[in-house]
Homo-oligomer: 242 residues x 2
């Protein structure tokens, strides 16, 4: 009709992807990721089951199974009764311990490419928002927390939290979700970066540049700074694993 379908079969293959996984596994994954990314810090309480299950759009039964799985992995502990609840008890593992986090090269490249697009985009958007005072303070505090983190695990978590904070300030749910996914996909591998003091300092300086640009409302500068930051991380990772 309209055109000879040159490269016809291409689009369907690219677009139609498997949608669903097990609800239970998805929930476990989501919670574990949230904990590992530092959305909930050590000692912090998860919301009550009834509330959390509703927010996740999942039956309480299923949520409870998921929490049980986390408990068996040692990520949380649970206490009953009033004032009880489920508490995060996550100490980031030492790098090098545990299984080698070698993922498929293609997936790594994908995640790095994706991150390099969405994180600068999030910074760009955030810089264009009119931020309230407490939001500005939160951003500054998030960046400062990365400077202050003293050990490897704390650094990883603070870093995630900073990036998620930037995404949150973009005020775009789709962007927030994308950044979360990028961070989750890279999480294991970022944890493998040996944290030389030089690298950390450099990384924190780049964070500060991003923060300054966002606070100044300079969207292009914020994006450029975040791009530089992503590229630096990317180079480290590729050098390390490729």
């Amino acid at each position: 009709m309209t055109q000879a379908p040159l490269g016809a079969g291409r689009l369907p293959e690219a677009v139609l992807r498997p949608a669903t996984a097990n609800v239970f596994e998805t929930t476990v994954e989501q919670l574990a990721t949230a904990i590992r990314l530092g959305v909930f810090v050590d000692g912090e309480q998860l919301p009550p089951e009834r509330e959390l299950s509703e927010r996740l759009g999942v039956a309480r039964n299923t949520l409870r199974d998921a929490i049980a799985a986390l408990r068996e992995s040692g990520l949380v502990t649970t206490r009953r009764g009033r004032g009880g609840g489920t508490v995060v008890t996550y100490v980031t593992p030492e790098p090098g311990s545990g299984t080698a986090p070698v993922r498929r090269g293609a997936a790594l490249a994908d995640a790095l490419d994706f991150r390099r697009i969405v994180e600068p985009g999030a910074a760009w958007l955030a810089a264009r928002q009119e931020l309230a005072g407490d939001q500005r303070a939160w951003l500054v505090a998030s960046a400062a927390a990365v400077w202050e983190a003293d050990d490897t695990g704390a650094h990883r978590i603070a870093d995630s939290r900073f990036h998620l904070a930037v995404a949150t300030l973009s005020a775009s749910p789709m962007v927030i979700e994308s950044v979360t996914r990028a961070q989750a996909a890279l999480g294991e591998m970022l944890a493998a970066i040996p944290v030389l003091p030089r690298n950390i300092t450099h990384s924190c300086e780049q964070h500060d540049a991003v923060v300054a640009a966002i606070l100044a409302g300079d969207a292009d500068a914020a994006r450029a700074a975040m791009e530089e930051h992503c590229d630096a991380t990317s180079a480290l990772l590729r050098g390390l694993l490729g």
Copy 2:
């Protein structure tokens, strides 16, 4: 511990999103979107049920129910027997007909912001790939098809197909998915743009600029061109709806 959780509750609220919907509904939505975006053009056959169900990660039963729903909506017809199958019979509705596609303003803004980030990113990435001859030809053909589309509906579909082609050439699954979601979220609203010849011409010229930059391997130019294109569309839509 580490820091006073300034803006503590913020991250959980931003990150923990409802994950699951009904599998059946998800499948219907995904197929309907693919058809409306022109992933399958009018008269084209869907893959056989057994194959499609596997690709979608869904039981054949469920897929069949979804297809039945599409059939009732008049999007497809089905013939049995060898050489049979399910065929797309979708003629894009005239703009103005049907219910007003007014979605919540926040969702519109979100989708526009997201698109303005991922589409230029996709173009940027595509320009950095080493494209094979048939991929280059496909890209050129996709852009040309938009010029050649004669009526409103055909234009919409060709436009979607062009954008999805760019995304596909980025070779990043996460990027492809993001562009698909952005297109799907905007689809209804883009369809509401009155297609003045001037707008179309302008839009097509921008497409050509994107194509030229991608083929030249000039990533920054490709991104800039796509940004311009998104901004133009955005301005049209915002002017139209809000």
